[in-house]
Symmetry: C2
Subunit: 279 residues, 2 copies
């Protein structure tokens, strides 16, 4: 693991790191904020999965998570959203919603994507191994969150691994990719046209198929340009009601899909996770 940069921030350290990923066959960059802590102490960790077109840098620059993570004593990790590089296949038309910057947190099975697009394995296995080995984290206390495509990732990963993640939240998530254009393009392109294979990567379908967690926190702006066509939080609301999952869905008036929305409510999410990640 190579350190690309570190800076003191809010009494802790914001770093950016690169490592060679076996899962994706590429170098991957991620950021980690370690808050101030006692020597030898280990801390809960909050994973943040980013949205379409993003790298680790968007939330690291604009997410405004460091103050609340410093106050709560939470390590914050932000991976990239896909493999990248010249040899990595991309959207044939160069679209922003598939290929590089749009990995959808799954392991692709379709050629030519299956070789590199293994973000599920990367985010759930390889990166946690690297972070656990190099940073003062208590892997018994993990939470997960994300934005938009990363909200989809947080929900599907959290619902699939409920014993690992004590707390799951999302900002403006894609809750039912099988039912919306972004998701249909991605799931079809990465997993093929057999829709049975899509259900493990669709939060609403996972819940319909029996996945259970105690509670979820979701914030959604009502001025979000993607709300009606791509995000559709009412589908998650219905599935959670049916499954007796305690969903707190907060519709935030006037907020859009940008990091101004995320940063405004970031501290609420960090504190919500922190309460659930105490020993």
């Amino acid at each position: 693991m190579e350190t690309l940069s570190t800076s003191r921030a809010y009494g802790g350290t914001q770093g950016v790191y690169r490592h060679a990923s076996e899962a994706t066959g590429t170098d991957m960059i991620f950021s980690v904020f370690v808050p101030p802590h006692e020597k030898g102490q280990t801390l809960p960790v909050l994973w943040y999965l980013s949205g379409l077109t993003c790298t680790h840098a968007n939330v690291t620059d604009k997410g405004e998570y460091r103050r609340s993570c410093a106050e709560a004593g939470i390590v914050f990790v932000a991976p990239d959203t896909s493999p990248r590089g010249e040899g990595v296949p991309d959207d044939p038309a160069g679209a922003y919603d598939f290929g590089q910057g749009a990995g959808f947190y799954l392991d692709a099975t379709e050629a030519p994507f299956a070789t590199n697009y293994r973000m599920w394995r990367y985010v759930t296995e390889e990166l946690p191994m690297s972070v656990g080995a190099a940073f003062p984290v208590d892997m018994a206390r993990q939470g997960i969150t994300g934005h938009s495509m990363g909200g989809h990732g947080a929900l599907t990963i959290g619902l699939t691994l409920p014993d690992r993640f004590r707390s799951i939240s999302a900002f403006a998530p894609i809750v039912a990719p099988s039912q919306v254009p972004w998701g249909q393009k991605a799931l079809g392109g990465y997993l093929g046209e057999d829709r049975a294979a899509w259900r493990r990567h669709d939060a609403v379908a996972l819940i319909e198929d029996g996945a259970r967690v105690a509670e979820l926190l979701v914030d959604q702006g009502d001025a979000d340009q993607f709300l009606a066509e791509q995000l559709r939080p009412e589908l998650l609301q219905d599935a959670c009601a049916e499954a007796a999952i305690d969903l707190t869905l907060r519709i935030q008036p006037g907020y859009d899909h940008s990091y101004h929305f995320i940063s405004t409510f970031m501290a609420d999410h960090v504190r919500w996770h922190a309460e659930r990640l105490r020993r």
Copy 2:
């Protein structure tokens, strides 16, 4: 004035705007955060001047000022650091520390810079007229701050116009440009080799020449790579001691010159200004 973008943030509105500047002869972009407020209410305004290579966007993305400005009821304005565009003369060698992105908040007198590089007039006259006309600001309650080259701007403008600015602070400012390489290059290039003309754009020289304010707040990281050669806060400390100006100079251990330093201490500065800008 053209609105380039607005987003709801922390209950207020973060906007980015463009207008044609008579001072610089170019279009200029700036950002304004207006916190939540009652209809008809006017609010104090804090001007933030950015450092070398920056535009309005750096602090808007990474400054983390919105939460504290929303809490304190402060409008936050971030101008660009120079005129820009194809017809605007630049550093002959393309260096980062002169020309576009490096206006040093003065009105150039040397050819070919004198036509466009009129950032003093832009920041002290033209932009305040535009902001005062378009936003709910109380121009009787203004504070000014900035980073590095923008800290130089905040100090020189604040010391020159003490009746306008009730509060002046800076992050890692260039306090004595006449005595350091960045400043000598800029003042020589924009104002010529007569060093008498430089003194109005040098905070330490201004104080030596009789400029007086009650107090100043300066934060400076001790891991700042530019500290010893370019910033030299001890020169400001000496000048303030001699002039009986109450300087609070906080040396912050481990902090560098980046926005991680600025964002960590931004809330302190916003609150400090807010206390001094109450009616």
